[in-house]
């Protein structure tokens, strides 16, 4: 039998994100409409949907950047209404633009982000060492970021985002334009982070990337229309890949 909230075994019972009837309106427009879901510790949770379906708004609410109109949500046990600033210390965020300073070296970037998150100098040093080894970037530590290949920049962006050891990580289209081999190395890292108990949110337009997720949610017009394991969704829609599932859901139902 399939375990309820999926893959990662040892943490399955703990939930880190609980969203209930979450709604966000902009004027008369409802961007996020009564959305509910839970995400377990150590889970890789895919967040799919067409442009404008409400993904970004949902994630902004979960990151404490935007107040919901109604409903409730807690992230790492913190309430999005009352503790948005605390939430920011519990999440790591990596965007597709990789917010790295191109004219700083790998080490300088990591030190800068460590400083932003208020790590002590000692902590930054030990964290830098740990991450560089872990990400296999040790030889490149004094290389300017702009001179790194894209795949390495991506790993570095991830390392900057998790420097403060957040339990929850948001990845916004993390592997856009990265070559197939580097993408796989990146996903191995993501799996390892999940295995260490990190919860990983991924938004993406690459449907093959959705396959790597433990569960995916597909949003349409502000609502979550499907939420399940990729395998089960493929069976349900008799599709050979997630691309077809997505197109069936987003396009099929309104015709």
């Amino acid at each position: 039998m399939n375990r309820q909230s999926t893959g990662p075994d040892s943490f399955a019972a703990e939930t880190t994100v609980v969203v209930s009837h979450l709604t966000r309106k902009f004027g008369s427009f409802t961007a996020v409409d009564n959305v509910s879901f839970t995400v377990a510790r150590g889970e890789i949770f895919g967040f799919l949907g067409a442009n404008g379906a409400g993904k970004t708004t949902t994630i902004r609410m979960l990151c404490g950047l935007l107040k919901p109109s109604s409903g409730s949500a807690s992230v790492a046990g913190l309430d999005v209404y009352h503790q948005p600033e605390k939430i920011k210390t519990k999440i790591g965020y990596m965007s597709q633009q990789f917010s790295l300073y191109e004219d700083l070296t790998v080490r300088e970037n990591i030190q800068f982000y460590g400083g932003i998150y208020g790590l002590s100098r000692l902590q930054i040093r030990s964290k830098t060492d740990e991450l560089l080894h872990y990400l296999n970037l040790w030889d490149q530590v004094d290389v300017l970021t702009r001179d790194l290949p894209l795949g390495w920049k991506q790993r570095m962006a991830l390392s900057s985002a998790i420097l403060h050891d957040p339990p929850i990580i948001f990845l916004d289209e993390p592997t856009s334009g990265v070559d197939p081999a580097s993408r796989r190395e990146f996903w191995l890292l993501i799996y390892e982070l999940a295995a260490r108990g990190k919860t990983v949110f991924v938004t993406t337009h690459y449907m093959d990337e959705a396959e790597y997720c433990h569960r995916v949610s597909i949003m349409k017009d502000g609502r979550i229309v499907e939420l399940d394991k990729p395998e089960r969704l493929k069976n349900k829609y008799a599709a050979k890949n997630m691309q077809q599932v997505f197109i069936n859901i987003v396009k099929g139902k309104d015709k």
Partner: protein, 309 residues
């Protein structure tokens, strides 16, 4: 070596070379595109797709090789190329503070399209792009998919026979991408010649022919179905909830070169053609547990990974 029957190919690139400050960006690439054909340049960022395209549209000079557009040398016919080619850059390059209609008219004027013909073309373009209802909206306020359609429409205002698109669907959701590709197919069936670059592997199947590009080299080029046949090893999928664990375990063994990690499992390339039974025995020997072991057909991504090694 002289290219043979160049005139039949609206786009003909022979042994193209280009370096940036001694770093080679494109090495000996040869591509020819016919009328009515969609040729896909498939590869990651930094593979050289944009460089090839910019040389073709005369925005960059080649270091070596020959690039012909409609049989004419591009570097010697810059004005001819720019007046007749249709080019859509990778970055959204329209005026965000102009409306949909103003953008279309601007590009019509830029290419000397007479006003009454512009009106006819506007109608046709609104029809297939479904941008008609949004004609007074500012381009910057359009969704990603609509922006791409507007960029395409602007470029079609002067009805070019050769259309060059640099990652036109980058960052666009799958449904909008599918619609965009429907338009490209229609253009090809009307006899246009299309060169499209993309980093999305699934779009490769929509091209008539593709070139797999990595680090400035063309790894292979042909029809997608023919290319896949080049992958002539049996391929198996080891399905599991946690494919990365199996991958890591196998990577530590001599199977390192036999495996590829995918979201739905670990793919095992049977290089030695030892057969599924033998492989399953080896997996059992290594104490690897999995949900399912099944033969699968290779995909372009399997091939690409194989060729990249």
């Amino acid at each position: 070596m002289k290219p043979i029957v160049t005139m039949t190919f609206p786009v003909s690139i022979q042994n193209l070379k280009k370096s940036y400050a001694a770093v080679p960006a494109v090495q000996n690439v040869s591509i020819q595109v016919q009328k009515g054909e969609i040729y896909g340049l498939i590869g990651p960022d930094g593979a050289g797709k944009t460089t090839i395209i910019r040389i073709l549209v005369s925005l960059l000079d080649a270091d070596g090789g020959e690039v012909l557009f409609m049989g004419r040398n591009v570097s010697q016919n810059v004005r001819y190329v720019r007046s007749n080619i249709g080019y859509m850059p990778q970055r959204f390059s329209l005026y965000r503070d102009l409306s949909v209609r103003q953008n279309l008219r601007f590009f019509g004027d830029l290419f000397h399209v007479p006003r009454h013909i512009q009106e006819q073309r506007l109608k046709a373009l609104y029809d297939f792009s479904k941008l008609g209802p949004f004609q007074n909206r500012l381009a910057g306020a359009l969704s990603g998919g609509m922006k791409q359609k507007l960029a395409l429409s602007c470029m079609l205002m002067h009805e070019p026979d050769v259309i060059v698109l640099d990652e036109p669907t980058f960052g666009v959701d799958p449904v909008s991408r599918a619609e965009f590709w429907d338009i490209l197919k229609m253009l090809a069936s009307n006899g246009k010649c299309l060169l499209v670059s993309t980093a999305y592997m699934d779009e490769a199947y929509l091209c008539h022919r593709i070139g797999l590009l990595d680090k400035g080299r063309l790894l292979a080029q042909n029809k997608p179905q023919v290319l896949i046949e080049r992958f002539d090893f049996p391929l198996y999928r080891i399905r599991s909830e946690q494919p990365h664990k199996i991958y890591t375990q196998l990577k530590a063994t001599y199977f390192e070169k036999h495996i590829q990690l995918f979201g739905d499992g670990v793919y095992f390339i049977d290089r030695d053609k030892s057969g599924s039974a033998a492989i399953r025995r080896r997996l059992a020997d290594l104490n690897i547990t999995y949900d399912k072991f099944e033969p699968v057909k290779p995909t372009l991504e399997n091939l690409f990974l194989e060729l990249m090694i």
